[in-house]
C-alpha cells in the first residue's frame, strides 16, 4: 500500500533501502499522513468526520535453545474513519489507501452510522487542542536492523552455551506514527520508537528471567539482562517444596506490575458508573495502606504513549489514589458529562462501551532496595515474576496466578535457595493494605500488563494456596 501513499520516486527509494540497508526506519512522515487525512475529509459528506491513522514498522528477533528460531518484520498502516450524521456515529477501518478504498471506508462508516438510533449522549467532536510535547522517538532505535538484533542475541546465546545454560527470549525494535484529525479542526500527531529485550535462562530444574523496554534502544542492555537471568537460574537450582500458606513476600517490580495492572480499568469512571469497578461505593474511603499513592501520568519520563486520547483530548496527570484513599477517576468527554466531572483525556476511540482508562500508571515508591527487603525478612518468599494471572472476584479484587522463573525462600535475612512455584489467590485490597516496604519506582515490563512505573514491594500475609510440580 505504500506505493499508493508514497510517490513513485519515494517508493523506489524505499525499495532501494530494503536492498542496500535493511534499516527498520520506514516512517511515512507527517506530511503524507496529513495529506492522507485530507483526502478522507474530501470524500465525506457527514456532519462530522474523524480520521485516525496509525503506521507501524516493527521487527522482532526470537530465540530459544540458544538459536534464533523466529525472526520477523512488518509494515502496516491502518486508517480509521468515524462519521456523525444527525447524532448517530460509527467507524470503519482499512489498511488500503487507494482512492477507491478510501471512498469505500467512508461509505462503510456512513452506512453503519445512518442506520443507527440517535445517541443523545454523543457530543460534538472536539476542536483543536493544545498538547504538551513529549520526546519518544529515537532515530537510532528506528534504524536498528535485523543484523543488529541478531548480533546481540548471538552474544547472549554464546554466553549461555559457555555456561551450559539455555537461553530463550526476544529482542524487538520498532516505530509507530499516528495522526488524529477531525473536521472541526483538531489535528494531533505522535511518533514513538520502542525497544524490548526479554530473556529466560533455563537449566535442568531451574530458570531465571529478566526483561526491559524503553523508547530508546540505548537503555536496553541485553547482556546485563541475560546475566541477571542466569544468576537467578543458578540460585534457584534444586528447588525445595515448601508448604502453601500465608507468607511475607518480596515482589520484584515485574511481579508488582502484573498484579496492579489488573486495577487499571477499575479507575475508569465508566466502570464505576457500570458498578463493575472495585472502587464502586468506595471513592473517598480508606481502601489501601497509607503508603499507597497512584497517579496516571503520561508525561512521566519513564512512560510512553501519546499526550492525547482517542478523541484528541489532552491527557491530564490524575492523582488516583492518595495515601490509600481512592480520590479521582479518569474520564472521557462522555463519562465526564454523565458524571458531572471534567474530562481528563483518557477516552478510548469512539464508539465504544468501555469509556476510558488510565494507561500510564505511576506508583509512589520508597527507598528500600530488594536486598534490604530480603535482609529485613526472617522468613518469606522472593518472587521474580508472575504468570497467568486472572481475576477470581472483581469486587474483592481476588487474583489468582502462578510464580515463575525465579522463586526463592528467604530465611533469616538471606536467600536460602530456590523453591517450587506456588499458585496464589490474593485480594489486591488486602495486598495494598499490607505493604511494609517500597522500592524506587522503575519502568517495569511483564507479560500480563502493559508497562507501568512501579516499585518492588515487601508485603505481609500473601496467600499462596497450592504448590505445583516444579
Amino acid at each position: 500500500m505504500a506505493a499508493a501513499r508514497k510517490s513513485k520516486k519515494s517508493a523506489r527509494a524505499a525499495s532501494a533501502a530494503y536492498h542496500s540497508h535493511p534499516s527498520a526506519d520506514f516512517r511515512v512522515g507527517l506530511t503524507e499522513l496529513r495529506e492522507l487525512a485530507g483526502r478522507v475529509f474530501k470524500l465525506s459528506d457527514a456532519d462530522e468526520t474523524e480520521v485516525e491513522i496509525g503506521a507501524v514498522s516493527d521487527a522482532l528477533t526470537r530465540f530459544a535453545n540458544n538459536t534464533i528460531h523466529q525472526h520477523v518484520a512488518e509494515q502496516n498502516l491502518a486508517l480509521s474513519v468515524r462519521v456523525v450524521f444527525d447524532g448517530c456515529t460509527a467507524r470503519a477501518v482499512t489498511n488500503k489507501t487507494d482512492e477507491a478504498s478510501l471512498r469505500r471506508v467512508v461509505e462503510a462508516a456512513s452506512s453503519l452510522a445512518r442506520v443507527q438510533r440517535k445517541d443523545p449522549n454523543l457530543l460534538p467532536m472536539p476542536r483543536q487542542q493544545k498538547y504538551q510535547k513529549v520526546r519518544r522517538f529515537y532515530p537510532m532505535t528506528a534504524a536498528a536492523t535485523a543484523a543488529d538484533r541478531a548480533r546481540a542475541v548471538a552474544r547472549v546465546c554464546s554466553n549461555a552455551t559457555t555456561t551450559k545454560q539455555t537461553a530463550a527470549g526476544i529482542f524487538s525494535t520498532g516505530l509507530s506514527e499516528s495522526v488524529l484529525a477531525n473536521s472541526r479542526g483538531l489535528f494531533a500527531h505522535y511518533e514513538q520508537t520502542r525497544a524490548e529485550f526479554s530473556i529466560t535462562i533455563l537449566e535442568k530444574d531451574s530458570s531465571g528471567w529478566a526483561k526491559a523496554s524503553s523508547a530508546n534502544l540505548t537503555d536496553i542492555d541485553p547482556e546485563a539482562l541475560a546475566e541477571s537471568a542466569s544468576e537467578k537460574s543458578i540460585a534457584s537450582r534444586a528447588p525445595l517444596e515448601i508448604p502453601a500458606g500465608h507468607y511475607t513476600v518480596i515482589l520484584e517490580p515485574p511481579a508488582v506490575l502484573d498484579l496492579v495492572g489488573f486495577l487499571f480499568y477499575d479507575f475508569a469512571a465508566t466502570a464505576v458508573r457500570d458498578q463493575r469497578s472495585v472502587f464502586t461505593g468506595r471513592m473517598g474511603k480508606k481502601l489501601f495502606g497509607e503508603n499507597i499513592s497512584i497517579w496516571d501520568d503520561v508525561y512521566h519520563p519513564l512512560q510512553l504513549g501519546a499526550p492525547y486520547d482517542g478523541e484528541g483530548m489532552p491527557r491530564e496527570k490524575v492523582h488516583l489514589v492518595d495515601h490509600g484513599v481512592p480520590r479521582n477517576l479518569v474520564y472521557s468527554r462522555a463519562s465526564a458529562r454523565k458524571m458531572k466531572a471534567k474530562p481528563t483525556g483518557h477516552g478510548f476511540s469512539l464508539p465504544n462501551e468501555y469509556g476510558e482508562a488510565p494507561m500510564n500508571l505511576v506508583f509512589a515508591g520508597g527507598t528500600a532496595t530488594v536486598d534490604e527487603m530480603v535482609r529485613s525478612t526472617e522468613r518469606g518468599v522472593l518472587v521474580t515474576r508472575l504468570w497467568y494471572i486472572r481475576e477470581v472476584d472483581p469486587y474483592q479484587k481476588i487474583l489468582t496466578g502462578m510464580t515463575r522463573d525465579g522463586t526463592f525462600l528467604i530465611e533469616n535475612g538471606r536467600i536460602a535457595g530456590g523453591i517450587r512455584n506456588f499458585r496464589f489467590n490474593q485480594s489486591m485490597i488486602a495486598l495494598l493494605s499490607n505493604v511494609e516496604k517500597l522500592g524506587v519506582p522503575v519502568r517495569a515490563a511483564g507479560e500480563e500488563s502493559f508497562e507501568m512505573v512501579v516499585p518492588a514491594m515487601k508485603v505481609r500475609d500473601f496467600h499462596f494456596s497450592e504448590v505445583t510440580k516444579f
Binding site: 535453545n65 523466529q70 502496516n76 443507527q116 535485523a146 472476584d393 502462578m402 489467590n425 497450592e466
Partner: protein
C-alpha cells in the same frame, strides 16, 4: 491475490532462499456491541497484506507488508531473505522440514447466511431485544451483548509448488447479565463466556442461539447468585458442563501437546510443557474412557480450528492425542515433526493475520463423546457440584497445576440437582484430574465450542480454537480453593 504470492516466492528464491512460502490474506470484520439499552461498538474493518516466510543460510526469516505492488512485494520478500541471513548469525543447526507434497486446491468453509449481508440494524435490534429482557429483571445492573463476524480469504503459495486458495467465515455472539449488590458482583453469560459461542459458520449460528429467549433466565440467575450457597472447600466429585470442559481441554490438553512448547521454543513467554518427548505413547494421561483428538477436518464440525490446509500448506488431519487414556500425539508442524523423527507434520500451523508468522496452534482439540445420558449421569451421582460457564482460568507455565472458577454451580445430592452454588472453583494437577474422569455424556450432549481468544507467540497472536465436549464427571477434585482464606 495469487500473483502477489507467486511473485514473493519467486523473488525469495532469486535472493537466495532455499525454501519460501507466502500468504496473501484479505480479512473483513464486523464487531457490534450493546450495553444497557444503547449501542456500544459498531465497527467494520478490512485488512489486506502479504506475509513471506523463507529459509536462507539454513535459518528462518519472515517479513510482511501491506504494500501490494510488484515493488512492495519484491521488497518484502527480499527483506525476509535478509532477515533469514541475519538469523544465521545465531544458528546452531540448519532448519530441516518434514517432507510434504505440493497441493493446488480451493477450500471454503460452508455457511448458509452471509453475516455481512444481514443488515446491521437487524443485528443491533437483536442484541437490544436481549438487552431489554435482561434489564427487565430487578437487580441486573449491567446488560451487555456482542456479535462478531470475520471473513478470511487467503492464498498460499510455496516453493515446493503449492497454490491453495481458502475462504473461511466465522461468526460469534453472546450476552452477559451482571448484578452488583452489597459487596459482590455476580454475572451470567449465555451461551458461554468470551463473547458467547463462536464457530466457522454464517449468521445461522446467531439465529440458532436464541439470545432473546435466554436473556431473562441469564438475568435472573445473575441476581439469584447473591443469595446462593457459597461453594464449599474440600475434595468433591464435580460434573463439568460442556463449555467449561471445553476450556479445561484447551488449557490442560491443548496447550501441553503443542510441540513447539515441548521443544522449548515458547520458553520465554507461553512456557513449556510437562509432556516431554519420552512420554509419547507411554504416559497414562487420563482414564480408559478419555479419548481426545486434534481434528481440523470439516467432518469434525465447523469449529474455529477447521480448515482445508494449514498455513504452511499441509492438509487438515485428525491426530489421536489421547487414546483410551494413553498419550499418543502432539500438535506439530513440518519443522518440529522432523525434529522428533515423525515422518509428517500434523498440520497445525496457523496465523492470526497476514502480518504474523504461522506458529503451531490448536485446531479442534476435542474430547470424544462417551456413553452416558445426561439425566442418567445426574441420577448416578450421589454428592457433587455441577459447574457451568467459565469465570476465571489459570494454569502454570508447564501445564501441570490449574485452577478454574465458573459463574454458577449446582449442588447434586442423591442423584438430583439441588441448590444453586455461587463462586464455584476447582483446582488440580492435569494428569491426576484426567485420570479421575469416570463418566462422559454421549454425542447428543456434545458441543463443539469456540474459544476465540487464545494468545500465544511473540509478537502475540490471538487465535480461535475449537473444543468439542460433553458434560463429564470427575472424582475427588479439590474445590473452593479460590475463595479459601
Amino acid at each position: 491475490m495469487n500473483d502477489w504470492a507467486h511473485i514473493a516466492v519467486g523473488t525469495a528464491l532469486v535472493r537466495g532462499a532455499t525454501y519460501a512460502d507466502a500468504r496473501v490474506m484479505d480479512i473483513r470484520q464486523r464487531d457490534i456491541s450493546t450495553k444497557n439499552g444503547a449501542v456500544g461498538t459498531v465497527v467494520e474493518s478490512e485488512s489486506l497484506g502479504i506475509g513471506v516466510r523463507v529459509i536462507a543460510s539454513g535459518a528462518w526469516g519472515f517479513a510482511a507488508t501491506d504494500r501490494l505492488t510488484r515493488e512492495g512485494v519484491q521488497a518484502c520478500a527480499a527483506e525476509a531473505v535478509s532477515i533469514a541471513k541475519a538469523s544465521a548469525l545465531a544458528k546452531t543447526h540448519n532448519v530441516v522440514l518434514a517432507s510434504e507434497q505440493a497441493y493446488v486446491d480451493t477450500w471454503q468453509s460452508p455457511f448458509i447466511k452471509d453475516p455481512f449481508r444481514i443488515p446491521v440494524e437487524r443485528q443491533i435490534d437483536l442484541l437490544l431485544a436481549a438487552d431489554k429482557e435482561m434489564r427487565r429483571v430487578k437487580g441486573v445492573t449491567l446488560a451487555e451483548g456482542s456479535m462478531s463476524f470475520r471473513r478470511i480469504e487467503q492464498f498460499f503459495a510455496s516453493s515446493i509448488g503449492s497454490a491453495i486458495h481458502q475462504v473461511k467465515m466465522l461468526s460469534g455472539a453472546g450476552i452477559v447479565a451482571t448484578s452488583f449488590a452489597e459487596k459482590e458482583i455476580q454475572k451470567r453469560s449465555y451461551p458461554n463466556s468470551f463473547g458467547g459461542q463462536h464457530m466457522e459458520s454464517g449468521y445461522e449460528l446467531v439465529e440458532s442461539l436464541d439470545l432473546v429467549a435466554n436473556a431473562g433466565r441469564v438475568g435472573e440467575e445473575s441476581v439469584a447468585l447473591h443469595s446462593a450457597l457459597q461453594c464449599p472447600e474440600g475434595a468433591s466429585t464435580i460434573i463439568l458442563e460442556s463449555a467449561q470442559l471445553g476450556l479445561q481441554i484447551h488449557e490442560s490438553i491443548g496447550h501441553p501437546i503443542e510441540l513447539d512448547r515441548v521443544l522449548g521454543q515458547e520458553a520465554n513467554f507461553a512456557g513449556m510443557s510437562f509432556l516431554t518427548v519420552d512420554k509419547l505413547r507411554k504416559l497414562r494421561y487420563g482414564s480408559e474412557i478419555v479419548d481426545v483428538v486434534a481434528d481440523a477436518r470439516l467432518e469434525h464440525g465447523p469449529g474455529l480450528g477447521t480448515f482445508g490446509y494449514d498455513d504452511e500448506g499441509v492438509p487438515a488431519q485428525c491426530t489421536p492425542i489421547i487414546s483410551n487414556g494413553l498419550f499418543t500425539g502432539y500438535l506439530s508442524n513440518r519443522e518440529s515433526a522432523a525434529e522428533i523423527g515423525e515422518k509428517r507434520s500434523g498440520g497445525t500451523m496457523r496465523t492470526e493475520s497476514w502480518n504474523r508468522l504461522p506458529i503451531i496452534r490448536m485446531t479442534n482439540v476435542s474430547l470424544q463423546p462417551g456413553t452416558w445420558k445426561y439425566d442418567d449421569l445426574i441420577a448416578d451421582t450421589d454428592d457433587a457440584v455441577l459447574m457451568e460457564t467459565n469465570r476465571s482460568w489459570s494454569i502454570d507455565d508447564r501445564r501441570y497445576h490449574f485452577q478454574f472458577s465458573t459463574e454458577i454451580g449446582w449442588e447434586i445430592k442423591g442423584g438430583k440437582k439441588g441448590r444453586m452454588i455461587k463462586n464455584p472453583s476447582y483446582s488440580g494437577i492435569t494428569t491426576e484430574f484426567w485420570n479421575s474422569c469416570d463418566a462422559i455424556c454421549s454425542r447428543e450432549f456434545w458441543t463443539l465450542w469456540g474459544t476465540p481468544n487464545c494468545g500465544k507467540g511473540q509478537p502475540q497472536q490471538v487465535m480461535g480454537t475449537g473444543h468439542g465436549a460433553a458434560p463429564s464427571r470427575f472424582r475427588n477434585v479439590k474445590i473452593g480453593v479460590a475463595f479459601a482464606k
